[in-house]
Subunit: 225 residues, 2 copies
């Protein structure tokens, strides 16, 4: 059994046009018909299939929670793990430079190739074939979804924590900006208006620093409790 | 013919379960079974259908250009225009507050409802039914796609303009940050290293100010030419 036959079997599908699968496994460094356009298509396929699965499996969740759950399932690191489980790296076609530098193990290359494979299945067998392959690959992750609260960013978690206790929302303020243009470091303070305490966080943007400050504040509040 | 029957006819589809279409047209202000979850699903449906159309119609375009074209076709303002053409506003169910303030004409409400309608068609008739309705609605826009260059942001256009002429890339630097925390105004300068000229731009974030400076620079270069 060739590598591509084994991969097709693991995906539960049988390609009519195997050149689509070959293109999906061809990184741009290898030149020729590479997988970037198929990745564009496959990204949209997996987004819809996972959206529908979550929509049906979690009828109680509002749109924001469905979005967060989907983001955790289709992000690069999750796709890269699944690609590694499929041993996709051994099927990749890379240029000589990428091959020498271990590109077949790089997460982003694996994740992009898996999305391209989804695009190839879609073109070859249609939506139902692609949906079946994606559901098969995701079946364990879909049966064991993470708690929605864990997916929220710290600012959202902090706001919900305070609101649930009837406390006012925090104030965020930039306390310091240091460093040169392209490597600025922001320091933000998160102040709880009802007890006056203040927690600070740092980051490469104001948004990042605010999230870090909110995380510090949550940790402070949990330490109290 | 009722409003919903006319809408179904305009979409080229016949609902088995009309309550799905009713839910898609129910804004959260009306309470009950609203359209937010259907919008989440429909957004993914239209993204895939338009991705495939562009993939097939424009085989010469790289992934980045396909993404930009799709973004222009599925953004809120485009969806709101299509919703207005369908007279979706007259079918919406809004709460009393939104009704009084003219919510049935608000672009974001119309755009969200149209996405929810796509989600409803998908649940009712499957992917093929939804794809057919979306292709019908988009047929004029798909036959008359905008030039890809017009969709690029100013920084990208400037970089490509300079590279095509063998000139070095510009340098961007923050010249000034003014105003309070939540209403900061950034001033960025874009400098052309080979002729020393400098163009400035302002915005509410560094990114915005850089784009404004790049736009000013492009205008300066075009004025020369």
């Amino acid at each position: 059994m060739s590598r591509l036959e084994r991969l097709s079997a693991d995906l539960g599908c049988r390609f009519g046009d195997i050149s689509l699968l070959e293109a999906a496994l061809t990184h741009r460094s290898a030149g020729g018909n590479n997988n970037e356009r198929l990745e564009f298509l496959g990204d949209a396929v997996v987004n819809l299939v996972i959206a529908e699965e979550l929509f049906r499996r979690r009828p109680e969740l509002p749109e924001g929670d469905l979005s967060r759950l989907r983001a955790s399932l289709v992000r690069g690191s999750t796709l890269a793990e699944m690609a590694a489980d499929l041993d996709l790296g051994s099927c990749l076609r890379l240029g000589p430079g990428e091959r020498k530098s271990g590109g077949f193990r790089r997460g982003s290359i694996l994740a992009d190739a898996l999305e391209a494979v989804f695009g190839a299945i879609y073109l070859d067998g249609g939506f139902a074939a692609a949906a079946a392959a994606i559901r098969k690959l995701y079946s364990a992750r879909l049966s064991d979804l993470p708690p929605v609260d864990e997916l929220k960013d710290p600012k959202t978690r902090l706001q919900e924590y305070l609101q649930a206790r009837g406390r006012p929302v925090p104030n965020y303020g930039v306390a310091d900006v240091a460093g040169e243009d392209h490597r600025q470091r922001f320091t933000v303070e998160c102040r709880l208006p009802d007890d006056g305490r203040c927690f600070s966080g740092e980051g490469g943007s104001r948004r990042e620093a605010e999230q870090a400050a909110a995380r510090a504040c949550l940790e402070g509040l949990h330490a109290d409790a």
